[in-house]
């Protein structure tokens, strides 16, 4: 897959543009220097980096907390069989959480952009209103989507509530869309053309087959009876964990139920009316797990 002349021109704007993995490493170094613990991805399927307990559970309670990590995100309905240059059913988010939110959070964030090669006097960086809400987590916050030349590269949120509980102190959350950001920096129009490293490996070589097979599975093959059954079992297991006063495993089951629900949606077997009921069910589980987490002995 070759690049068009326009792309080469753009690449020229970032002469030393980072590979996908160097982008991650640069952010790790940058946020590590801001006293964030650099965590590894959570080993469960989830739709967004926010679901990681390092964000959801740690946003609750009074303890200070700073963490940064990459989280693979699975969004079955966004899969396009590897045919769409901009959409993936599986992609990466870079997540940073700082609690309490520092006064210079915007400046820290902008510093990270400079670090990865975006010159704010050459590129138009904007904070555009985007209030964040996760109905499945009973969470909301105010903030922006950050635009770089019209492209949304980061979701920037001050958490106000998680699991239905007030966040005090407030956690600042930054979620970078890594593929988009990398595409922008590298001047690539197709996600599969991204340079993954500087040794010639492209993103598509690693993930295209994955996209094709997972799209086929999620849209056509996944057994809906099994999924419905998994949903029920995860919900039941979550409640058992709650009874046993085990908030972390309870929360894991809520994450599981959430992902099963997402797959059921991709299979197109959940109607609009039922959708609300399922979201409500997951929210109740997540809220109960958050409540249990807050109640645990300090």
């Amino acid at each position: 897959m070759g690049q068009s002349p326009a792309n080469s021109l753009l690449t020229g704007q970032f002469p030393l543009s980072l590979s996908f993995q160097d982008l991650i490493l640069t952010l790790h170094r940058y946020w590590g220097a801001q006293d964030c613990v650099i965590l590894q991805p959570y080993d469960m399927e989830m739709g967004a980096g926010t679901f990681h307990p390092a964000t959801v559970l740690r946003a609750l309670g009074a303890e200070a907390w700073r963490a940064a990590y990459v989280q693979p995100c699975r969004r079955p309905t966004d899969g396009r069989y590897g045919e769409n240059p901009n959409r993936l059913g599986h992609y990466y988010q870079y997540q940073v959480v700082l609690k309490p939110s520092p006064d210079d959070l915007q400046d820290l964030y902008l510093g990270s952009l400079t670090e990865i090669g975006i010159d704010p006097l050459k590129h138009d960086i904007r904070f555009v209103e985007d209030d964040w809400e996760s109905p499945t987590l009973g969470a909301w916050g105010l903030g922006w989507e950050v635009w770089c030349d019209g492209m949304e590269v980061t979701q920037f949120t001050y958490f106000q509530q998680v699991g239905g509980f007030e966040c005090k102190p407030v956690t600042g959350e930054l979620t970078y869309g890594l593929e988009r950001l990398a595409m922008y920096i590298q001047g690539v129009d197709n996600v599969f053309d991204l340079r993954f490293n500087d040794a010639g490996v492209r993103y598509g070589q690693i993930f295209r087959e994955n996209e094709i097979e997972m799209s086929t599975y999620n849209f056509e093959v996944a057994d809906t009876d099994t999924l419905f059954d998994s949903f029920r079992k995860a919900a039941a297991e979550c409640e058992r964990c709650l009874t046993a006063k085990l908030p972390i495993p309870a929360y894991e089951q809520a994450i599981k139920a959430s992902h099963v629900f997402n797959t059921l949606q991709a299979r197109g077997v959940i109607s609009v009316a039922e959708r609300q009921a399922y979201i409500g069910r997951v929210r109740d589980l997540a809220k109960a797990a958050c409540g249990a987490w807050l109640e645990r002995a300090p």
Binding site: S101, D124, R126, E129, Y158, V170, G172, Y184, V272, A273
Partner: protein, 714 residues
């Protein structure tokens, strides 16, 4: 006197909230100063994405000292009264003055320095600011739209000292986020705007708006194109930038295959770009974005970056469009069977089936003049685009996309237009039939499962559907009895549930929905200056449910009650109605005392049966007319006036000439006034009394044929 400057610097304020925030800032400031008695001159308010600012000119240096005297209770009044007075005035007992046995409180207030008042004002403004959504940050309790970082408060050249939750006032603010990242010191109101301008911040939003208008037009013209004006985008972009720089970019002309609405909407909603047209008024493959910096490369990278983002979005849109074009609409419509419309109301396919039948019925019963097959076809395809990828991406384009797809598939224009227009209140006949059927079905379906709007809750937008139905009926002058139509719609829905739905079960929902329509009609007509009580008066007739005729009646009625005849007739009507009510008079007596004129009654049979008895017919008519044995000239005059007016009014009503019907009623005004002036209704003679009451009743009924005048206010 000196000028006061206030700037509240925060993280980025949503563009859509800035206009109201400026007004609120000016209002709160004026409230604070006037409550403190501090005189100020004109107030200017400004906003940028990061700041809200206010400049008040000619603020007095201090308030004058005041002395208020308050008269209190008598010196010998009970303790409680005196305590109450002390509490009210905030004084001690020995501070009260005893003037001839009455306590007086003299409250003296020293003048206050403006800077103190202004400091209080800043605190109150921040505490009480009515942001539509506000937030907390870090560890604090303060709420603001986004984190508040600095407060500049300067009166003349002096800083007004105030500290709010750790944010202390000062003279330093920040310039443009990227062009001038460090702090800058403001001297006061006089140099605020210009100092910031020197630091790449145009404080005045109107100046930024004008700059965007002018520059956007200029860069478009330089590219040989015309800007598609969009004031909403001008204001939004001005709210997103402190130093707006419009830049023109282009996209691949191949994307122009995608419906224009999709392109414009993608650019507008997702990217906040202006669209451009060419010489022929066609959409050009170009856009204008508004950057917030004077870029080091002249904006080339920004324009290219934005072009790439747009290209990705348009590629996505085109992908959906091409997919959608491949799927025939009939096939798409079948997929509606798997979408639940509402858990108790079946699928969207069920709804489409009902709407198709109803729309056809509207044509077959002559309500809408159109080709029945075309209407049914349009109704069957109207919702098919809901399963299209395009509508999945842009829900607000439902209907529009279906219209394009129908055209692409060679459907007749009427069908394509109806699909496009049926969510609104269209004027073309096919569209009107489908739109009306769709809305009546929605309203009736939700009412039948008891999901009615209550208070501020109207989750299924039934009020809007009713207003649109009214607009369709009135706008297209569709003649239909709403009660009968609603029963038909309800039965149509019930038919899908069970065939055994007894007809009488429809009575209650039908009359509830009719009331609902009456309410909506009043709301809708209020804007046209139609009085709600007049609509009530016509609805109260009980048998008037043809909205076109109803509004004609209301209009004639409104004209009539505005005249002197109308006003007086209304007074006479109310007087007659009051007498009848007071006497509990319900018409010619069926069981009356011996000697009075009554209809002999034998048993328990329905008295109305007797009215039809040929033997008694004349007697009943005579009694009912109130004419039997009339003795006073005013009685006779009223009778003959009624004799003349009733058939005239009746004939006019039959011809739907309500103005003439009103004119006929107007002829009763003098006779009824004379009657009240000269005739005693409550005569000692029971026969006379009964006769006169019957006459008043006849008068009331004659007037009521046009409208229930008892509902008219005034």
């Amino acid at each position: 006197m000196a000028d006061f400057l206030l700037e509240l610097l925060s993280e980025e304020i949503p563009a859509r909230m800035q206009a109201k925030a400026r007004n609120d800032l000016a209002r709160l400031f004026a409230e604070c100063t006037s409550a403190a008695g501090l005189a100020t001159g004109p107030i200017d308010v400004y906003s940028t994405p990061r700041r809200l600012a206010l400049i008040a000119r000619d603020v007095a240096e201090a308030t004058d000292a005041t002395r208020d005297e308050l008269k209190g209770p008598r010196a010998n009044a009970p303790e409680q009264a005196i305590d109450g007075f002390l509490k009210k005035t905030g004084l001690q007992r020995d501070q009260l003055e005893d003037r001839g046995g009455v306590f007086f409180a003299v409250v003296e207030r020293a003048g206050r320095r403006a800077s103190d008042i202004l400091a209080d004002a800043v605190g109150r403004i921040v505490a009480e600011f009515p942001w539509p959504k506000s937030m907390r940050w870090a560890e604090g309790d303060l709420r603001w739209v986004r984190p508040l970082h600095r407060i500049v408060a300067i009166f003349g050249e002096e800083i007004v000292a105030v500290e709010i939750d750790g944010v202390a006032s000062g003279a330093a603010t920040l310039g443009h986020r990227f062009h001038h990242p460090g702090p800058i010191t403001i001297g006061g109101a006089s140099d605020y705007v210009e100092k910031l301008r020197a630091c790449h911040v145009i404080v005045d939003q109107e100046e930024r708006e004008q700059l965007i208008r002018d520059e956007a037009a200029k860069v478009t013209a330089a590219a040989g194109l015309t800007l598609l004006p969009d004031e909403g985008l001008v204001v939004e972009n001005a709210g997103l930038t402190e130093w707006p720089v419009p830049l023109v970019g282009s996209f691949d002309a191949d994307f122009l295959d995608v419906p224009r609405e999709v392109i414009v909407l993608t650019m507008r909603t997702n990217q906040k770009y202006f669209a451009c047209t060419n010489d022929e008024g066609l959409l050009a493959p170009a856009f204008v974005c508004v950057a917030n910096i004077e870029a080091s490369d002249g904006g080339e990278a920004i324009a290219q970056g934005n072009a790439r983002v747009l290209a990705a979005r348009l590629a996505d849109a085109r992908f959906f469009w091409e997919q959608d074009l491949k799927a025939p609409l009939d096939e798409q419509a079948r997929k509606l069977g798997s979408i639940v419309f509402h858990e108790k109301l079946g699928t969207v396919a069920d709804k489409v089936e009902r709407v198709a039948k109803l729309a056809r019925w509207l044509v077959e019963t002559g309500v809408v003049k159109a080709d029945a097959d075309e209407v049914e076809r349009a109704a069957r395809l109207a919702k098919a685009d809901l399963v299209s990828g395009m509508v999945g991406e842009f829900p607000e384009l439902q209907g529009v996309i279906g219209g394009y797809l129908a055209e692409a598939r060679g459907e007749p224009k009427g069908v394509a237009d109806a699909i496009r227009e049926h969510y609104g209140a269209p004027n073309q006949s096919v569209s009107a039939a489908v739109a009306l059927a769709d809305k009546l079905d929605t309203i009736c379906a939700f009412f039948s499962i008891d999901q009615k709007p209550t208070g501020s809750k109207d989750p299924f937008a039934l009020r809007r559907a009713a207003i649109a139905s009214i607009e369709i009926i009135v706008g297209n002058r569709l003649r239909l009895g709403l009660t009968e139509a609603l029963r038909g719609v309800l039965a149509n829905r019930a038919g899908q549930v069970s065939d055994a739905e007894p007809a009488h079960r429809l009575d209650k929902p039908a009359s509830e929905i009719l009331d609902f329509f009456a309410d909506r009609l009043k709301v809708q007509q209020r804007e046209a200056g139609v009085r709600h009580d007049l609509i009530d008066a016509v609805f109260a007739l009980g048998d008037e449910d043809d909205l076109v005729r109803l509004l004609a009646r209301v209009k004639a009625l409104q004209d009539f009650v505005g005249t002197e005849d109308g006003t007086n007739l209304l007074v006479a009507y109310k007087r007659a109605a009051n007498i009848l009510k007071k006497e509990k008079w319900e018409g010619p007596r069926v069981m009356s005392s011996p000697g009075s004129q009554g209809i002999p009654q034998t048993g328990e049979e329905d008295p109305l049966v007797l009215v039809d008895d040929p033997i008694l017919k004349d007697a009943v008519a005579e009694i009912a007319s109130g004419s039997a044995g009339a003795d006073l000239p005013q009685e006779k005059a009223l009778i003959s006036a009624l004799d003349a007016a009733e058939p005239k009014a009746g004939a006019a009503i039959d011809k739907e000439d309500f103005t003439s019907a009103m004119a006929a009623l107007a002829s009763l005004r003098k006779p009824i006034d004379d009657f009240f002036d000269h005739v005693t209704v409550n005569d000692a003679d029971a026969g006379k009394r009964e006769r006169r009451l019957n006459l008043l009743m006849r008068f009331r009924e004659a007037v009521n044929r046009v409208a229930d005048f008892s509902r008219i206010e005034g």
